[in-house]
C-alpha cells in the first residue's frame, strides 16, 4: 500500500506539490491525468525517493520513503518505474539491459539473471530481440524493454510516467497493451497518462491533478462521466 499524506514539494521557491493526500491499495490501478506542469512526474519521483520532499510523508508498505534511515536502494526494488523518455542503457543488449539490475542489485547469479531477463523480454513480446542493442529497436520496443527491465526486479508496484507520450502514434498501442496485461495480472500501478481511453478502461480510479493539487479522484465513470469539479470538466473538454 502506498500512503501519501500532506505532501509538499518545492523546487527552490517553486511550490510544485501543495499538499497531496492519496492512498493506493494493493492491486489497484490508478491513472493520473492533468495538464503538463501540474506536478504529476514530480509526484512519482517523490514516491520512489528520486526527489526529496519538504513536508508530509510517503509510506510504502509501512516504510517511510523519506526517513533518514530508509535504504532507498532496497525500497526501490519494490517499485519499478518507466519514464517518458526511453532510457534503455544504449551500451547493453536488450538481454543485458534487463539482466543487469537483478545481477548486481539482487545479487542473482549470471545464469539466473539471464533466465529472468529472457522470461521478462518474452513477456513483453521481445523474445526475438535478446541480442539487439537499443539503437536497433523502435521507440515502442524500447519502452517495452524498459517495462521488462523494471519487471525483472519483481516489483510490487509499477510507476509509469507518460510511458507512451514520446511515441509515434502507431507505436502507442503495443505499449498500452503491455500495460493492460500487467494490470490484468494484478500489478499495483500508478500511471501518469494522456491516454484517456486507457485511463477509462483499465484504471480502478482516476486522479485529476491541477496546479500541484489533487483536484478530484474517483472511479473512471465519475471522472469521465460526472466530474464534480468544474476544473476537471474543463480539462477533459479540452483533451477530448
Amino acid at each position: 500500500m502506498i500512503e501519501i499524506s500532506g505532501l509538499h514539494k518545492y523546487f527552490g521557491t517553486l511550490h510544485v506539490l501543495r499538499g497531496i493526500d492519496l492512498t493506493v491499495q494493493k492491486g489497484e490501478v490508478l491513472s493520473v491525468i492533468g495538464a503538463s506542469g501540474s506536478g504529476k512526474s514530480t509526484l512519482l519521483y517523490c514516491i520512489n525517493g528520486l526527489e526529496p520532499i519538504q513536508k508530509g510523508r510517503v509510506v510504502v508498505d509501512g516504510t517511510d520513503v523519506h526517513a533518514k534511515q530508509t535504504d532507498l536502494n532496497t525500497l526501490r526494488q519494490r517499485m519499478g518505474m518507466v519514464f517518458q523518455q526511453w532510457n534503455s542503457f544504449p551500451h547493453l543488449t536488450a538481454l543485458e539491459n534487463v539482466a543487469l539490475a537483478p545481477r548486481i542489485v539482487k545479487k542473482k547469479s549470471q545464469s539466473e539473471a539471464r533466465e529472468i531477463a529472457k522470461r521478462q523480454l518474452e513477456h513483453v513480446g521481445l523474445g526475438d530481440k535478446l541480442k539487439a542493442y537499443p539503437s536497433a529497436l523502435s521507440g515502442g520496443q524500447q519502452q517495452r524493454l524498459a517495462i521488462a527491465r523494471a519487471l525483472a526486479m519483481d516489483p510490487q508496484y509499477m510507476l509509469f510516467d507518460e510511458a507512451t507520450s514520446a511515441l509515434d502514434p502507431e507505436l502507442v498501442g503495443e505499449v498500452l497493451d503491455t500495460m493492460r496485461i500487467l494490470a490484468e495480472e494484478g500489478m499495483t500501478m500508478i500511471c501518469v497518462t494522456h491516454e484517456m481511453g486507457f485511463a477509462r478502461d483499465v484504471s480502478d480510479r482516476v486522479a485529476y491533478f491541477h496546479d500541484g493539487l489533487l483536484e478530484e479522484i474517483g472511479p473512471p465513470e465519475q471522472i469521465f462521466g460526472a466530474a464534480e469539479s468544474e476544473q476537471t470538466r474543463k480539462f477533459l473538454a479540452k483533451v477530448r
Binding site: L50, N73, G80, Q85, N87, I104, V105, K106, A146, A150
Partner: protein, 220 residues
C-alpha cells in the same frame, strides 16, 4: 656547404637498443594513460558533483596540468619534490608527471562526456535500486568512455610524444637512449632522424590499433 657525411652504420648497430627503449616509452605512456583515465574520471566527477575543498583541489590540478608547460610539470616531480627531500627515480618522475598531465587533460574530456549522457540514464539506474557507485561504473562511465574514445586516443599519442621529455630528467626511454648514443658517436642527426621514424611508426600503430579496437568495443 654540403660537407656533412652521413654515417648510418652506428645507428643500425644500436637499433636493438633503440627498439627496446621504444618499448619502455610505450610502457610508461600506456601506464600513465591507465592512471590518467582512472584519476581523470575521479577529477571530473568531483568537479561535477562536489563543492568545497575537494572541488578546489581538483580544479587546481586541472588548471595546472592544462595551462603550464608539460616540461615544468616533469621538473616539478623531479627537482621540485627533490628540493623537499623527496627523490623519485627518473622512471617515476616521468610516470607521475605524465599521469598528472593526462589526468588533467582527460578530466575535461570526461566532464563533457558526463554532461553528454542524458540525466535520465542516472534516474533509470537509480530507480532500479542501483547505488551511486554501480550507476557510475555500470551505466555512466561506459557511455562516457565511448563518447571520449577518440580524444583519449589522442591523449595516448600525446603521452607517447611527451614522454620524450624524459631525457631531460635522465630517463632512458626512446629519446633518452637516442641522446645517449648520439652524444657518444656524434651522429646526432642520424640518430634523431631514425628515432623520429620510430615515433612516427609507433603513433601510426596506436591510431590503427585504436580504430580496430573501436569496431570491436562499440557494437551499438
Amino acid at each position: 656547404m654540403f660537407d656533412y657525411n652521413f654515417h648510418w652504420r652506428p645507428v643500425i648497430r644500436s637499433l636493438p637498443e633503440l627498439l627496446e627503449a621504444s618499448l619502455v616509452t610505450l610502457q610508461v605512456a600506456t601506464l600513465s594513460m591507465v592512471i590518467g583515465i582512472v584519476v581523470g574520471l575521479g577529477l571530473s566527477v568531483i568537479r561535477l558533483r562536489l563543492r568545497g575543498p575537494l572541488y578546489w583541489l581538483a580544479t587546481a590540478w586541472v588548471e595546472l596540468a592544462r595551462n603550464t608547460p608539460a616540461l615544468f610539470q616533469l621538473f616539478f616531480f623531479g627537482f621540485g619534490l627533490g628540493a623537499f627531500g623527496w627523490h623519485l627515480t627518473p622512471y617515476m618522475i616521468v610516470l607521475v608527471g605524465l599521469s598528472f598531465n593526462n589526468a588533467g587533460y582527460l578530466s575535461e574530456n570526461f566532464r563533457g562526456g558526463f554532461q553528454a549522457v542524458p540525466d535520465t540514464q542516472m534516474r533509470a539506474a537509480r530507480s532500479l535500486g542501483m547505488n551511486l557507485w554501480q550507476t557510475y561504473t555500470r551505466i555512466l562511465v561506459p557511455q562516457v568512455l565511448r563518447i571520449v574514445y577518440y580524444p583519449m586516443t589522442n591523449q595516448l599519442v600525446w603521452a607517447v610524444l611527451m614522454s620524450s621529455l624524459g631525457m631531460l630528467v635522465g630517463f632512458r626511454e626512446l629519446s633518452g637512449e637516442t641522446q645517449f648514443f648520439a652524444s657518444r658517436t656524434y651522429r646526432i642527426f642520424e640518430y634523431f632522424a631514425v628515432t623520429a621514424v620510430i615515433y612516427y611508426v609507433m603513433v601510426k600503430f596506436i591510431l590503427l590499433a585504436s580504430r580496430l579496437l573501436a569496431t570491436r568495443l562499440f557494437r551499438y
